[in-house]
Symmetry: D2
Amino acid sequence: MNVNDFLKTHPNKPANMDAVVACVKACYACAESCTMCADACLAEDQVEKLRRCIRTDLDCAAICAVTGEIVARLTEPDTGLMRAQLQACATACRVCAEECEQHASMHEHCTLCAQSCRACEQACNDLLAAI
Amino acid sequence: MNVNDFLKTHPNKPANMDAVVACVKACYACAESCTMCADACLAEDQVEKLRRCIRTDLDCAAICAVTGEIVARLTEPDTGLMRAQLQACATACRVCAEECEQHASMHEHCTLCAQSCRACEQACNDLLAAI
Amino acid sequence: MNVNDFLKTHPNKPANMDAVVACVKACYACAESCTMCADACLAEDQVEKLRRCIRTDLDCAAICAVTGEIVARLTEPDTGLMRAQLQACATACRVCAEECEQHASMHEHCTLCAQSCRACEQACNDLLAAI
Amino acid sequence: MNVNDFLKTHPNKPANMDAVVACVKACYACAESCTMCADACLAEDQVEKLRRCIRTDLDCAAICAVTGEIVARLTEPDTGLMRAQLQACATACRVCAEECEQHASMHEHCTLCAQSCRACEQACNDLLAAI
């Protein structure tokens, strides 16, 4: 499944399709990463030191999934609503990346999750600049 | 199930519990309302005139569900993340209420949905003022 | 917001409205309960003994939210799809209730969550018997 | 973000990792496809003929997202819960594929969505055979 090919079949085409496609991909990838990182943290021996990471991962996973879904919709979008949700997503990704980066030397899943979060933060900010 | 009773069993207690409880309730109620309004619009004879309402309902339902979930979590909250998501939710509720209010004379589900959206917009703004 | 009043405004009316309304309410209530129980468990001192409870809560919360949304839709339902999802929801609620019941004497949130899960399991089974 | 690389960083490793990875990927891809197909259908001129497709897409998108999330969690899984949700997902994917296939000659997004649904149905059934 290719997001770009799929969105080209939509009756409506946004002017900023490249930024839309990049943002949808980054949001879904980050939702997966944060879901997997929260779960891996929960299985770690020192789970009591990872409470904030688990919580932030769960928040970020949920926010990214919703943001990806909203950006992927091309029918009758509301720019104000989309901007507000993209800003929330960029914030959640930054907060989650900062938290995961603190555990990156201990847990490889936190390294990978921080990368997904930073990529999604960037993609949201790029789309914010394009709408 | 009573959100207030439930949150009282949490090891952590926020200072602004009343605003938290009101916001969680309003978010879940609005997620339900917007889900049902989108579906009722889809069944209406003149569905082609309700495209924007369906799309906005779907966005608002998803945003309210995620916001309710995040506000309900009391473990290691991040105020910046929560503020950004509450602002997105208040915006989505306002946009969806404005759309539903345009169809309120025709469709009772739009009347009810607009009420849920306005109540949730208020509850998000009240919590924003309390954190 | 009253689910019963809302669903009455839908162009379509199911034969088994009472069971539908009860199931929608129970699913959304259980999604909230499981979300809050997972978060409360995460904050407990002995979080390392609550891994299975947190994981099962997260699964059950997500399954209940989706099931409530699907049952609340009255437009062009597919009975086979709905039955399969109701069975998955009843299973998730039973598994989560059994887990929470093991911690009920220690954690009041687990007592409350188990009650929500048992109520939702029953509501799903009642609707399965009515469709 | 590579699901396979990510899951390898988890403290727990399932025996059937290949089937898990394939299922997670297929579920998230199908959630995206169904979200985009529902939205594209909503924008089509003859939206009144696509009500069942939109509704089934929305159900399938939500079920696939939840199933992908549950399968991606490797901490303390419950086989019974996972089997029930995989069966619901395989059913939803089959129902949605059958619906989209009826509109495939008219709408390319339905062609692409049916392909995602069939791939996800297969991945769910493969994992069911492996657990």
